[in-house]
Symmetry: C2
Subunit: 584 residues, 2 copies
Amino acid sequence: MLRTHTCGELRLDHVNQEVTLSGWVQRVRNKGGLVWVDLRDRYGITQLIFEEGSTDKALLEKAAELGREFVVQATGTVIERTSKNDKIPTGSIEIKATDLQVLNAAKVPPFIIEDDTDGGEELRMKYRYLDLRRNVVREKLHLRHRMMQETRKYMDAEHFMEVETPVLIKSTPEGARDFVVPSRVNPGEFYALPQSPQTFKQLLMVSGFDRYFQIVKCFRDEDLRADRQPEFTQIDCEMAFVEQEDILSTFEGLTKHLFANVKGVELEEVKRMTYADAMKYYGNDKPDLRFDMKFVELNELAQGKGFGIFDNAELVVGICAKGAAEYTRKQLDAITDWVKRPQIGAKGMVYAKYNADGTIKSTVDKFYSQEDLQAWASAFEAEPGDLMLILSGDANKVRKQLSELRLKMGEDLGLRDRNVFKPLWVVDFPLLEWDEETERYHAMHHPFTSPKKEDIPLLDSDPGAVRANAYDLVINGVEIGGGSIRIHDRATQQLMFKHLGFTDEEAQKQFGFLMEAFEYGAPPHGGIAFGFDRLCAIFGGSDSIRDYIAFPKNNSGRDVMIDSPSSIAPEQLGELSIQLNIKK
Amino acid sequence: MLRTHTCGELRLDHVNQEVTLSGWVQRVRNKGGLVWVDLRDRYGITQLIFEEGSTDKALLEKAAELGREFVVQATGTVIERTSKNDKIPTGSIEIKATDLQVLNAAKVPPFIIEDDTDGGEELRMKYRYLDLRRNVVREKLHLRHRMMQETRKYMDAEHFMEVETPVLIKSTPEGARDFVVPSRVNPGEFYALPQSPQTFKQLLMVSGFDRYFQIVKCFRDEDLRADRQPEFTQIDCEMAFVEQEDILSTFEGLTKHLFANVKGVELEEVKRMTYADAMKYYGNDKPDLRFDMKFVELNELAQGKGFGIFDNAELVVGICAKGAAEYTRKQLDAITDWVKRPQIGAKGMVYAKYNADGTIKSTVDKFYSQEDLQAWASAFEAEPGDLMLILSGDANKVRKQLSELRLKMGEDLGLRDRNVFKPLWVVDFPLLEWDEETERYHAMHHPFTSPKKEDIPLLDSDPGAVRANAYDLVINGVEIGGGSIRIHDRATQQLMFKHLGFTDEEAQKQFGFLMEAFEYGAPPHGGIAFGFDRLCAIFGGSDSIRDYIAFPKNNSGRDVMIDSPSSIAPEQLGELSIQLNIKK
């Protein structure tokens, strides 16, 4: 090794030892015949000292001339510092250098390599290898490393087998858009990259593997947003001979294990909520439970009093922000403007302040008496000092709008602490959802999810009301994982495809192998997949998954560091039996 | 859970407990009013018993009618068996069944699901999910699971960080053929799937990650052979501030850890051999050291005696097969025929038997005296009872031919025991190799491998003689891993590209990002990659990696189970800005 120790391990115990360190020059200071060099590696920072008189002159000059980010190897003796730095673990010692080799020089980096940098997003992406040198960035990847190790430790102890499923699979029209790979050996044919290993993990259950897991790359050719990447990572799992309750308890176990072993947090019991309740009380299938502020429906209390907007609304619904009666008129106008932005789309907002003196002041006082407003306050369980915010309109839309408002109020009031974790299982999702564009039902989870037995008769009469054996794990308003108990017999699977608008022929062509597998002794089974990038982001207290990916792509799906995607040679296209067909 | 216990865990301790098991029907026997059902799951087999008189009649009939591979749930009481089966861990007990539910029926499987099956390769690939039910197959995947867990345990303890590198990267013309992925968002441009994460792991070293590893899928669009797959798995590693010796000792450590913890084998010290010696003594850069049978060159002893074939040969070289003098004329003729097959390509073979009486009988007695032959025997260190086999011709070709013969003789003589493991580091590989077809030098390892400092002056005068800081780990004649100390400065990397025939412009376009990274403080670094599929096969005692892959592809790169690759919709092609261009 080009070092005897790392830059993070020397202590007073090592005084008088001769050591060799290698690393990057973080900083050089030169004052009154003394040169100090902070040498950095992944493990820490150690100070080197060169002193006029006792240090060889050429060596002193060499040290003084070092530039930031030079890679050097230094040899010397560990000595006790006169002025200690108790902010770093190596702060009690320094190295009196006797030799210094420049292993590689460095140009001046395009941005400052410190926790606070002056580099913009684009520049840091282009020089991602320099951005990754910053402690704050590398620590995020180290968190990810620990999450992976602890996940595998738990899964292995629970007898899950890690099985690698193929990356070159078959394209299917269901779900998101596939990335495809032209086959050279089979001209005109294509592989697809998996959106998830769904069918393979189900086949492993048919194979009797009993418990499967994998931390696996998945791919979706979708339009990108800040928190989506064309390639992303899942903790993918499946179990046989289980019911929903077994899956929930096993993966509640995994979640608790990760919180305990990676963050040192004892996670509380994971609450349960039906999809119907989540929508009714939070307007959202992934409610943030770090704060309460449940929806209260006011149709009975607020309609029929002459206020046309409420009277004509399908739903009048509000939230009560505790202690927010102090909001000024200006602040409240700003909130009203906020809900009226096109992204939210509310037509307006009614508020009612519960004053300290017990009176209530609302924006609709001319329609409602104090008694009316007191009745609202009772419904909200409001107290003096609270603020009631009310929206109205089409039920589905207004719930979505109020959900956004609730999250904003939670944020404004400091109720969304990144160090508080409120996990929740959302259960009893609908099996199908209506798609306006294609005018047919789509599988809300995926076509392999089983309907609740008691709801199967509704498949023909009221498909939208059929509930699935499907569940999501939500933490702090973020969907971390989702899964279902699967269909495991051919007849039900065929019925499902029929309801999704597949002809028998299409179903057979695309999923015939799976339905055939179900005929050879398929056990009842179910599973779950966790979005690993997002799970890491939640653990790290970030909103963006991109920080937790070593080499992410930008919003156009480009890796600006390596400049990919890129054109390929015409001969390569020829070998693959394809040609370009670019529309102007 | 649809069971209280697995089919592998019940013992005499459990007698009198009421239990519920779920699994597959392995066998049903029906005799004299008794029905026995062997119920199987991943964990074992448990016998269920139904008895006329004491078992409900409907239940008895239901049991008697079960078919192979039906999935059932049985409840009953654990009782001690009268006639125990000491071949299985559950053989002391059986379950007196009181309830039986068929969870799923099964058609008769297309082949027998036992360790010995009647299914041919193609059929078993099509129904891979049934093949995976066989214990012998599942155990191979379980070995792979354990190899993965133990690899990560070792790497984590050695402070390697597991980092996921991207799967959608940039196509480069160097190396094997890339699989490519058309980009929808960037029309006319393509991603490539990685042949290895080489440049990314080097960038992680530039980032100061210090130690990186990953168990990662890699892709090569090559013509397939039995032991190659278009997608395969590597244990991929890189370390900074190291020299070759550090890498060898770290990964010798990993290899020993795996042998100790997965196979319970204490691996011996890993020998070292230069590439030059491996070629001279074994004709092969991956010698099987389970047996000796080194090459002995006979030019001095055998030329100039009037035997034209030897006299005109560049090289006369042989091996000594210990104790094989007993081979009959017929057996020896068969060996001669074998070396003359087109796959081997030798023109002929000379043999000399060292008889028990001390005389030597050869096929070329008329050219060589007993004294001459005794001199050969001395060179071979042969003893009475040994057989000398000699080939001659062009040096490179004859070494390759003799290497094949040596392996065959080792096999014939039972010297290649699958339970003996002889690891070897082959070091000092050439940097470049001449490619007849393109008439230029290619990088023997890859273009990022560093030349030995003392050989750099030879780059211009004798490029083929330049040795690299490159090494392979070989076990039992199989290359398990390979790596190198990398180039870490721009000037040397540019020089290397120049010698590989890149223009400055080409080098800049394809690897500019890496060379630029080297200018911002790149540490000395090196690494290694293990072929994980092959490593598993060696551990399992198999020749084929396919057995160790859950869902392998066939020799045409097809997954015959899911029928992939397949055609995709014209609209999909249109979105990707490509069209088919199939030559007749």
